[in-house]
Symmetry: D2
């Protein structure tokens, strides 16, 4: 089937088309073939978080030489940006999503991407120089410390970690308990961007602040690696941490006390759409794996290829349609970001946030069902994909919260619909005066 | 919520933007306010198929004066076309779909649209002059006679109506039994385009032909009106017909004996996407109706607005997301048609064909559930919408057939995927030679 | 496939088994063969509500002679009851649900069943003699007047129809506006049981009363027949009514002023489970119709029986499983009613109320899809079934309301679950003291 | 909410009621409190498969003393059976499913249960003495070696492992490659029941045989532990194995050469229903966990308890309804087995096999969504439950295969339905002669 590729149908600049082609080549010919080697190079047992498989450094070098670097910093970041629009990046990021190695190899991996965006938007020159620069160079990695155990973190005002100024005003002392700090254990990670409360009273949205916490600060305590469906996601991990009187200079505060909520809005919105873009690539690969098993000549229960079973054909078609619908939704949201900006495009982003991981989970699950036991085991990538994508249905806020926000926006807009329908009625009554009904 | 409108985000020509604006105004200010009047002007009881509510003629006059006429004839029809691309028409047709009066008022209603396309593509000059011209002028209407009772008509080779040349070769005699001839009873309908067999042996795809059958030909017998969930869809109807030795001149055959299959491919593909486009407008209105009831201050079970119920907010969000995904899928398919042509875009069309009516049915059904009894009664348009859109899940071929075609195309393409994955493996083995594994 | 029949597996008394066998014979050999004749005997056009097709009287005579009469009055109604338990009636009512003629033929049709239950439970001797007796004899029929337009009637406290005592205390005057009064137009209907407010202040649940309103009372005004999808359901109908100063003697009040809420609880609970029981029979017939088309030798698209398509086999299996799950749920709820009584079994009833119509709608819809056009037209019973069963998803309260009640009951019970889990923890700690861990 | 318990509603013998009460007490007060201790006692890293946590031995001792032992051997096993019917065991096994420790503690764990059934039904006295006895005593454990990599094992005729008689006819030599041998690595496992081919030609169903293969036979080669999602399920595991010229005495063959297919039918049918029974208990616990988080006072996003969100209430209700429907379906299938025997009840079993894991997966997934990150991590049991239950959708044959079998059985039965409907028509025509239609 001659599929449309987005690059043919969407208005991409010549530069974007070039980057697209380079990325495609890099992902297909460099990243995917390196995946099993990366796994083999990973530490085993107690060494799992001790080193980064060296093949990643090779890939990073290649990517950088090709100009495939920090692509997520779209036009709005001015001189920091390689120059893609969000829509163009969406199409390219989908390619990156095809291989778990491609985002880190191109310095486009979460949570660093969001952290770099945060520093680029809200950091001062000193902060940028000290932390953004090495992050953009790929020399260090970082984690984002927001979620806390024992509270409903989808509502940021529940955060209880404290960022308290010292009496002399020269430092902040951080105390708290957090979990799901992805990347914390990564050998290259040097810094945390931490969300906490600089005050515990006053208006809800003025309590939060974001501060830069170097990983080696005394009092930063590793508690445990969180697992996701049994996976530890080494060497990045998702860790539970405690902060015991961690002392950082006041210069580490970003933007100012009480500006945390504003910063979060900026960080999370973009992150959500990046996840959705990458998820498209995962869905694409899941569908490919499904198709390959469907035509596997060795797997013919009762003499019939799996792909010749009508129910499975139905599943293939549903998967293809869902994937295409997800793609188009992401492109649309990305275009909306380009045209209207992040804030105005928040509902389009929410749609992609809710729809894409859910539907790609369905695709992955159908692929698993075709494989049977191999589909849930280490013999395919599917179970790993499931764990990654399933968790996106609550990461950065559960589907339910985004759907409710979306619905409330629709309901708010209903006053306009009411006016329109009242106007229909008014015009109908006017029109009735002019017609001679047959009745 | 400031929704993106397609016209802002898609590359529309200035002409298309103008047509879009005119159409929007016409649908909102002329068509929708006339809907109840149209219903009131319809004949009652035995008169239901006797006349066309006169307000439609007024609307047609206005539409034509505005240049909103035959818009479905896209660029590829050359001088016959007002000049829209398929993608531009998709965006505009979605507006037409908002009112059941807008398509007939703008001469963009099925099955005439498909019939005009058929005559424009495959008719000879004489046929065009005699039938295409008055159809394009909106002077007459037409029906398409393909489906037959008692056989699986989704497979056209099952058609049994015969088109037999007379001994002298000057005429054809038509005998057969068909149903679901939409528009046949319409007072303006003057002609049928009929699919039958000019031979009953030889290659499967060479038996079918399409012929022009004037409605007043002796032997054309009305059997009954088919209902759809209890609706008769007067004055158009969907009729069961018999053909008893109907004699037409040989000049009425289109393109040539045995060319029917080729003609059908052309006619049905375009028709499917038109249905999908209009369905978007229906879905939009269903969602609006849902929202209006959600904020109806008089309908507060246990003191809570329906729109304030969490389950209903979830339904709103799902509906909005599905609608947006359907829109983007239709635009994509339309773009594909513009870029690749109808034939090459058949799988994109199939995706829209399968996905859009199904998902819009879900939207309508959720809206009904919010209304309760009023939702299924004559008090809202929802039940009527349901009947219309539900039948699209099998009209022009059931979902299952299109999904299977799509899946088989994917499976055929899997040979390429296999090659790609073999190449991944080959490159991995090559790469392994160069790395010094830590293990 | 040798299906289990409920009668083989459930503990049915010999009497119930006899009634089951008689009912089966009556439905299969008398009712179903009479269905088309009934349709033919119905009035056409303006006569649709004028008479009852005479074949129904024949069926009633036969049913009564067989003892298949008022079976819904289960044991708890003492001498009024033919003697079935609720569970036994469930199994038998499922048979009645197979034919739309069987419930009225056996005097087991809504809304009369609920009205008879109401009068039997709450009516005084005089009321029973005057109204319950002729209803039980099948001499008259009745309607239940609760739902009102323009308010959220799923919350009975929103009812606004007034029942005002006259100054002399001898009569009540009824004023109000209602709709969905099923049976009102039925030629045999002589009486309405009307829910209204005898006071408009005081405690929410003390305002409602139920009163007997003879149909021929001056001021009872027919407004229009409500349609369901496009069906009018003649000769019963679902009508919109107005009540203009309708005067009835005070003796017509049931149980006493302000007792309406209590009466409603009793009436609606039982009604819901009756609907669910009958729906099982409808689902059974829909599945049979689906299967028949699946093996229809004349309908072989591309040479393959529909039943040989894998996707359709999947649909058949899902339908069979859902039907079986629905059956078992209804039997369980019925058993719960026998064991615990209506009030205590209200959550089991709610489960059946929510699950059964939803799932049987899915079964009907799949059957339609197999038939294509015929499935939605008058050529099969499916569209009619859909209209009937779909409306049950909001009749007697929408799914959403019942689900929320059920969930709140579960949440209330969570305090006990909490205690249990705390106890698990306590025991674990105790146990830990005794084990010598290997670690 | 006062839930019905099955034990109150189903016809259970006094003995079964006693066992039910003892089991409930044992599971609640002994097994569940021991779960975390069991986890802590498990070997870590390279020791994971080295020992069985000693607390299990304590539990086994207690269970046996209470008479909670080998309960799965239902009445049909005569003197070997503790004396429960299948339906009674279903209700009790559901309790066992509440704790992953309860089945092994009561000697009711797969795959031993199926293996014991197999030996009890098909083994000779010597085989029973040597292997069934120690299995029934809980002294040893076992694995079942059927599934093979690289073939579609859901079709047993694809099995390629060879069981070749030696020239002298005194031994068999086994060669082959298998995976998913659950329990193989378990320290107590001493024996494999292996399915292979004693001949590779002749009728499809006469090639398979089952043989007893002691685990310590030379040539039995461990290849690797298969993972399920990221879990290794130590110390039982699911292993990949190779068989290299394994030599066993001819007495180890069960029932005779070529009798394997017959044996498989017996083994798998019962196993499927046991899985379904246990899954009910898993679903029950998942729902409890969901409810607990719903009322967790510390987790109130935006000040609202999760359980007070309408969407989540909807999810709770759906989960409760699905769980109840699954329970009833399993009880029904179990009753059918009691009444009709395993073979005749195979379609009822298939329904439970398809429906229960699917729906319980939905329940688990909803519970996860309520928990967010904790739901997929080691902090709750949910991700582990998901892995266990999700794999049941293809273990012992994928849903698709069972659904297709069920559908084909329905379609075969359609000849009877056809006769019934033809009879309806015949009777209608007869009846028409007697009625004087009004028309």
């Amino acid at each position: 089937m001659s599929n449309l590729t987005a690059v043919d149908l969407l208005p991409m600049s010549p530069f974007a088309k070039k980057i697209y082609a380079l990325t495609k080549d890099f992902v297909e010919n460099e990243c995917i073939p390196a995946e099993h080697i990366y796994q083999d190079q990973l530490g085993k047992g107690p060494d799992r978080f001790k080193w980064v498989p060296p093949i990643l450094a090779d890939l990073k070098k290649k990517a950088r030489a090709l100009g495939l670097w920090n692509l997520f910093l779209t036009e709005e970041y001015g001189p920091l940006s390689p120059g893609l629009t969000t829509m163009e990046y969406a199409v390219i990021c989908e390619l990156l999503g095809r291989s778990s190695l491609a985002p880190p190899a191109t310095n486009c991996a979460a949570p660093d991407t969001g952290n770099m965006e945060l520093l680029a938007k809200f950091g001062n020159e000193e902060q940028k120089k000290k932390w953004l620069k090495p992050l953009m160079e790929g020399e260090i990695r970082s984690t984002f410390a927001m979620t806390e155990p024992g509270v409903a973190s989808s509502d940021a005002t529940n955060i209880s970690t404290s960022i308290t100024p010292t009496a002399d005003g020269k430092h902040y002392i951080i105390n708290g308990h957090k979990h799901w700090q992805s990347n914390f254990s990564h050998p290259d990670t040097k810094v945390l961007l931490l969300v906490g409360k600089t005050r515990s009273d006053g208006p809800r949205h003025g309590m939060l602040s974001v501060i830069i916490l170097p990983k080696d600060t005394p009092g930063v305590e590793f508690v445990r690696h969180m697992t996701v469906y049994g996976y530890d996601h080494a060497p990045s991990g998702h860790d539970e941490l405690k902060f015991n009187d961690c002392k950082v200079p006041k210069e580490n505060l970003i933007l100012g006390e009480g500006r945390g909520f504003e910063i979060l809005q900026g960080r999370l919105g973009g992150g959500r759409i990046h996840h959705a873009m990458r998820t498209l690539g995962v869905g694409q690969r899941a569908l490919e794996l499904m198709l390959l098993e469907c035509v596997n000549e060795k797997k013919k229960p009762f003499g019939v290829l799996k792909g010749d079973q009508g129910k499975i054909q139905w599943d293939i078609a549903q998967s293809r349609i869902q994937l295409e619908q997800c793609k188009q939704l992401v492109y649309m949201a990305a275009k909306a970001m380009d045209v209207k900006g992040l804030k105005e495009a928040r509902f389009e982003i929410a749609m992609a946030k809710v729809a894409v991981p859910y539907q790609v989970c369905e695709i992955i699950d159908r692929a698993m069902q075709v494989y049977g036991g191999l589909g849930v085991s280490q013999s395919t990538e599917l179970a790993h994909m499931w764990a990654m994508i399933r968790h996106l249905r609550f990461a950065d806020g559960p589907d339910e919260a985004h759907a409710a926000q979306l619905a409330r926006a629709e309901l708010k807009n209903t006053a306009n619909i009411r006016k329109t329908y009242d106007e229909y009625k008014r015009k109908e009554l006017e029109l009735r005066k002019t017609v001679k009904s047959l009745l």
